[in-house]
């Protein structure tokens, strides 16, 4: 990556160059141009918002904050301050790796610290690319709402838009590239500048390695820490020199993740483990079990708590209006008692709702729209014309269900409200938004809420909402106790923000030679991101993609890979159907379609080669291939299935990924493995169904997770196809998994899966 790219002005946001106005420092302004809020990498100086952060992140004596992304201790330990929560991707470790490489410090001396939930640390890129309209309840237009604050985003965004977010696979490509690397390089240059001044030698004669500054000519050398304070006084470099890929030492290596040791010895503190550590808060801590009204819009009309009240350990039973809470000396007692509370809920308009009705409404909306109604999402060439003159047309309809996230750690939050202040321990992808939710629940100002950093037992888009922090704060306020509120798995399943269900219809045209001449698609969902259903990487001249508007009176949210989780299945299943209709091998067929997309093609070929595509398989086995681009990464997968049993068994998955450049190849591989298994659980088993307005599933016995015995062998191969153009890692492994398996089932058995989950067809 070159300096100019680091500082490039985003063409559609030229006004961001004004960012330099409030910094008057080259590096800061430049960083702001490319990365918006990522530019909290700022030197300590009066009047700068970083000053406010100093007391939060500074440790003991002898530490100087060089800029807000990095801290150097007196013992030469470098701490990378990371503005994302660690959801488990290891992304924070990778960010630190990027910073450490640019800074020339050794990995052993690097620590990672989550940034405090303070408005000064925000991930603007995540906001812009991930939080599309409608993603956050009550914030229908988050993105455009924030644009006016862009120049002042330092102080504005946190307060106005609650925008410290981990999601959209954005941490490495955005914070890493634009924040961490620049900050590391800047820190290094400032240290060099300080040493040069002290030693009276030219800066360009000073070299750095493993956290040590050296000047060969005069024989002087010193650890970074010695110049940390002086460096903080240095002018920030206007455009710190970023390393070329050929100079990387740590980037591109499988450096061991920093967050793993505490996850193997039980010392890691997750949300469920958080709370006042010592003293009166710890002694006063009590536990809450909750149950919210099962139907959206319903409230708790009355409770009969007579039996529950008499149960051991029970302290209070609260009708909170939208939910019931039981507070007890132990969580188990609270849960037991909650089960014996009899609750009546208010009637709603959707008390009779069920999933069949919803799908019928979706189908009716599509019928009404036809193939050319609804809203256009892409329109080039003349799809209708091409289809009407095609030698052969193929039509298909696909359907996917609502899905729950089922993070391993159920939602929970510990809250302590006292003296107009509130302390919160909770796993969240949006700490600032949770802080706001807690403040509202506790009846205190946002500045009076302290968010304690804890790890997340899975995010996947579930922890993008503040309602559970709000609940815990309300209970804590109502009872006066510090409260650890934990949702049961049943509550977690019933009160999720679900991945939207969808129906998607296609019409495709082939010419005499079996080439695709027309592509027409209409589906129901709002697309987040907007590119999810688009196929511009395929060489098809006449394309129409449209969306029909439908309403789903459920709590809907972002689910791992968001819209790609649906459209990956739709698009790649239909491409496979077209290939078979054309009488072509699905790999060969995609090769032709990808003739003008070299990176896609390389990934496709990579996966096919790994799988030894075309080689013989045992009787009853089949292979399927699929490719998808999401979050700027391209992933192709080949699935092998065994159809000889009662239920299809996925035996192998071959995955080839081009995420631009793998900063930590082992980490990227782990993310692919993770996305594949998550995608396969959904593809094979999962659906959330509604009956009488409420979710029918409750726990892992009826919302089944893939287990080790069902898990395929997974091989991952990485292509570094665009070192200057990084893609995400957490989500892109998922979208090709379902269609690869469905296509493999067709290859093995001739059964075309057009509706997920697959298990439905083999019951």
């Amino acid at each position: 990556m070159s300096d100019t790219e680091t500082t490039a002005v985003d063409p559609d946001k030229p006004e961001r160059s004004k960012a330099a106005k409030w910094t008057r420092r080259g590096f800061i302004g430049a960083g702001a141009l490319a990365g918006g809020a990522l530019l909290v990498g700022v030197a300590v100086r009066s009047g700068n918002p970083v000053g406010k952060l100093k007391p939060i992140v500074a440790g003991g004596d002898g530490e100087a904050l060089i800029n807000s992304w990095v801290k150097i201790d007196a013992d030469n330990i470098v701490t990378a301050i990371v503005p994302h929560c660690e959801m488990g991707q290891g992304a924070n470790s990778t960010l630190a790796q990027m910073l450490a490489d640019e800074m020339d410090v050794s990995w052993d001396n690097v620590r990672v610290m989550d940034a405090p939930a303070d408005g000064n640390y925000v991930s603007q890129h995540a906001v812009r690319t991930f939080v599309g309209p409608g993603t956050i309840p009550g914030k229908p237009n988050q993105v455009s709402f924030m644009e006016p604050t862009y120049d002042g985003l330092f102080t504005q965004i946190g307060k106005l838009a609650d925008a410290y977010i981990t999601g959209g696979s954005s941490s490495v490509r955005s914070t890493g590239q634009n924040g961490m690397r620049v900050a590391g390089a800047a820190a290094r240059e400032m240290l060099i500048g300080a040493a040069a001044a002290e030693w009276g030698v030219p800066a360009d004669e000073i070299t750095t390695q493993d956290g040590v500054l050296s000047h060969a000519g005069s024989g002087q050398s010193a650890p970074y820490a010695q110049f940390a304070a002086a460096a903080a006084e240095q002018t920030l470099p206007r455009a710190p020199r970023i390393k070329q890929a050929s100079e990387f030492k740590l980037m591109g290596t499988p450096a061991l993740r920093k967050d793993i040791p505490c996850k193997v010895d039980g010392t890691g503190i997750f949300g469920i483990d958080g709370g006042p550590a010592e003293g009166p808060g710890k002694d006063a801590l009590r536990y809450a079990a909750v149950k919210a009204a099962p139907v959206v819009g319903s409230t708790v009309e009355a409770i009969d708590a007579s039996a529950a009240k008499a149960m051991p350990g029970v302290l209070q039973i609260l009708n909170m209006g939208d939910f019931v809470a039981v507070v007890a000396d132990s969580y188990w007692q609270a849960q037991q008692a909650l089960r014996s509370v009899k609750t009546t809920y208010s009637k709603t308009e959707i008390d009779g709702l069920d999933t069949e009705q919803m799908f019928a409404q979706y189908a009716a909306a599509l019928d009404e729209a036809g193939m050319d109604g609804g809203n256009s999402k892409a329109d080039y060439g003349d799809a209708a014309g091409a289809l009407s003159s095609a030698a052969k047309t193929v039509e298909a309809e696909y359907k996917v269900p609502f899905l729950a996230h089922a993070t391993m750690e159920p939602m929970n939050c510990t809250a302590w409200v006292r003296d107009g202040k509130c302390d919160i321990w909770t796993g969240t992808q949006v700490p600032l938004m949770s802080r706001k939710g807690a403040a509202e629940g506790a009846g205190v100002g946002e500045d009076d809420v302290t968010m304690h950093t804890v790890m997340l037992g899975g995010g996947f888009g579930r922890r993008l909402t503040p309602e559970y922090a709000n609940q815990a704060a309300r209970i804590a306020k109502a009872t006066g106790y510090p409260i650890k509120m934990i949702w049961s798995r049943e509550e977690d399943t019933a009160q999720d923000f679900y991945r939207p269900a969808d129906i998607s219809r296609f019409s495709g045209g082939l010419d005499e030679q079996g080439r695709v001449v027309g592509w027409s698609n209409i589906h129901c969902s709002e697309d987040e991101p907007a590119e999810a259903p688009l196929v511009e990487f395929y060489d098809i001249a006449n394309v129409s993609v449209r969306g029909a508007e439908v309403e789903a009176p459920l709590r809907l949210g972002a689910w791992r890979s968001v819209g790609h989780s649906q459209h990956g299945f739709f698009v790649e299943s239909f491409v496979d159907e077209l290939a078979h209709a054309a009488g072509k091998d699905p790999l060969e067929f995609r090769r032709t379609l990808l003739a003008n997309s070299p990176r896609h093609l390389a990934v496709l070929e990579g996966a096919a080669k790994m799988a030894d595509w075309g080689s013989d398989l045992p009787e009853g086995h089949g292979r399927g291939i699929a490719i998808a681009r999401s979050f700027n990464s391209i992933v192709a997968e080949v699935a092998e299935v065994d159809m000889t049993g009662d239920m299809p068994r996925v035996t192998k998955m071959f995955c080839c990924v081009d995420a631009g450049y793998a900063m930590n190849p082992d980490g990227l591989s782990a993310q692919m493995e993770s996305g594949i298994i998550y995608g396969l659980s959904a593809a094979l088993y999962n659906e959330v169904t509604i009956k009488n307005g409420a979710v029918e599933q409750s726990n892992f016995h009826d919302y089944r997770m893939m287990r080790m015995v069902d898990a395929p062998q997974i091989a991952v191969q990485i292509i570094n196809g665009a070192p200057d153009n990084l893609g995400g890692a957490g989500e892109p492994g998922l979208p090709p998994a379902a269609p690869a398996v469905a296509n493999a089932i067709f290859a093995a058995s001739g059964t075309r899966i057009r509706e997920l989950p697959i298990a439905k067809h083999f019951a």
Partner: protein, 163 residues
């Protein structure tokens, strides 16, 4: 209420407690050992796995009365006394197993019990034994590999010793 006598990670304890309370909540709330996790509460996920006299049990669904007179071992108790991590824990680091990590205490407790019973397990034995432990982050391939590394069947991927 009743008094149960248990040993937890080698330390004898006497606790006044409702004998029906699951071991999980006694360990987490009364003993402050938070490494054992709650995932489902109905013996479906294995996040709460501890050893009762060396046998793995789902602590969310095992009452504390069942532990009376017995030894409970949790994730906090499987390293050596000097803090040296067990072979299984070391393999979990060398294979970079955890993603979010929430299931991993339970996975490690199950894997530890497996290797005690079957020091050289094959794939089928591993799959069968570990079937009760869900990893929502899908790290099954790494878990399987790490078990083999801990068993000495396969070499480790990364040679670095944990810090």
């Amino acid at each position: 209420m009743a008094t149960v006598k248990i040993s937890v990670n080698g330390t004898p304890q006497e606790i006044d407690v409702d004998p029906a309370m699951p071991i999980l909540w006694v360990v987490r709330e009364r003993l402050g050992l938070s490494g054992t996790k709650f995932g489902c509460g109905i013996a479906q996920c294995g996040a709460c796995t501890v050893h009762l006299d060396d046998e793995p049990v789902r602590s969310c669904s095992t009452p504390i009365s069942a532990a009376d007179g017995k030894a409970i071992t949790t994730i906090e108790g499987i390293a050596a006394e000097d803090g040296t991590l067990s072979k299984v824990q070391q393999a979990w680091i060398s294979e970079q197993v955890p993603q979010c990590g929430y299931c991993q205490s339970g996975q490690i407790m199950s894997a530890t019990a497996l290797l005690k019973e079957t020091p050289q397990p094959n794939d089928e034995q591993i799959n069968a034994y570990m079937a009760g432990n869900v990893c929502r982050c899908g790290m099954y391939g790494r878990i399987r590999k790490a078990i083999k590394v801990a068993a000495g069947i396969e070499p480790s991927t990364t040679q670095e010793t944990p810090a």
